[in-house]
């Protein structure tokens, strides 16, 4: 009997489900960042707004990478429904706390897919995920550095204005 399933699709059904969940998470992240950009813009934090618009685009790019990978492997990529995006924040700092939380969630999720790859010996998907694991180093670094500005600069006086001005300067250029 021919192995028809393997002929049609490289990844397992479980892996397909996990990758589709990740597509949804990346889409959710992108939408959350847009919500943050909107809040920052409305409250006069132009630098942070630009920063979050850029982050939203990056997350969308990640979503598309997963989406195309799933299709390329012969599986079904599902365009996700995204609801429940926060539009109001209690403070400027809360926006960055949520941003870091968001990145930590994404990293954990990619790590669990990588663990599944090891279990299934799906080294093709694991190799694909390597790019994301490296990318998450940068994403978490940037989110953490942004939050640290609140400790370094402080929010008193013109503190928030300074933070907003410097958020866009955060770069990750590790060669490691």
């Amino acid at each position: 009997m021919k192995d028809l399933i393997r002929v049609k699709c490289l990844i397992s059904a479980e892996m397909e489900t996990l990758l589709n969940q990740q597509i949804k998470k990346e889409a959710y992240s992108s939408a959350v960042y847009l919500g943050m950009a909107s809040w920052c813009d409305r409250n006069g934090f132009d630098g942070s707004s630009v920063y979050f618009f850029k982050q939203a685009e990056e997350e969308r790019h990640h979503q598309m990478k997963f989406f195309k990978y799933v299709l390329d492997m012969g599986a079904t990529a599902v365009s996700p429904e995204i609801t429940g995006i926060k539009i109001e924040y209690n403070s400027f700092k809360e926006v960055f706390e949520d941003a870091l939380d968001q990145e930590i969630n994404v990293t954990q999720s990619i790590k669990s897919i990588a663990a599944r790859c090891h279990k299934e010996q799906d080294y093709v998907t694991l190799e694909f995920l390597n790019w994301f694991l490296k990318e998450q180093r940068e994403e978490e670094y940037k989110a953490r550095r942004a939050l640290e500005l609140f400790e370094v600069i402080g929010e008193e006086g013109t503190g928030r204005w300074q933070i907003d001005k410097h958020v866009g300067d955060i770069k990750y250029d590790s060669e490691a």
Partner: protein, 123 residues
Amino acid sequence: MSTIDTLKYSDQGLTDVFQTVAGGIYQSDQESCWYVDFAGKIARFDYRNLIKLKKAVYGIDIEAALLKSDKAADIEIVFICACDHCYVLDILQIIALKDLLAGTFVMLELNQIICDRLYRIAI
């Protein structure tokens, strides 16, 4: 001779994948598809549609259906988009179809392992 036997002994060359008392699923290597003999009919499913059938059947909440106390008929319509077939099943048939599909996918996975071990992995 039943319809499935006719198909089996014809040029289609069907292979039994999994059978229960309620029905059976057969694979056609030639046509790259599966024949599902269930609920009094034989339906042809390609890879995409078989996966969709599995998702549709697994998505039915059997417990909720059993606990339902309204007067609506005790049936579920399993409709698969872009597929010619649809099933109208009662709860017992859903359980039986779920059983059949579960067994089938285990057998297909086993077949994949055998193919890997016997033919694909170079020594």
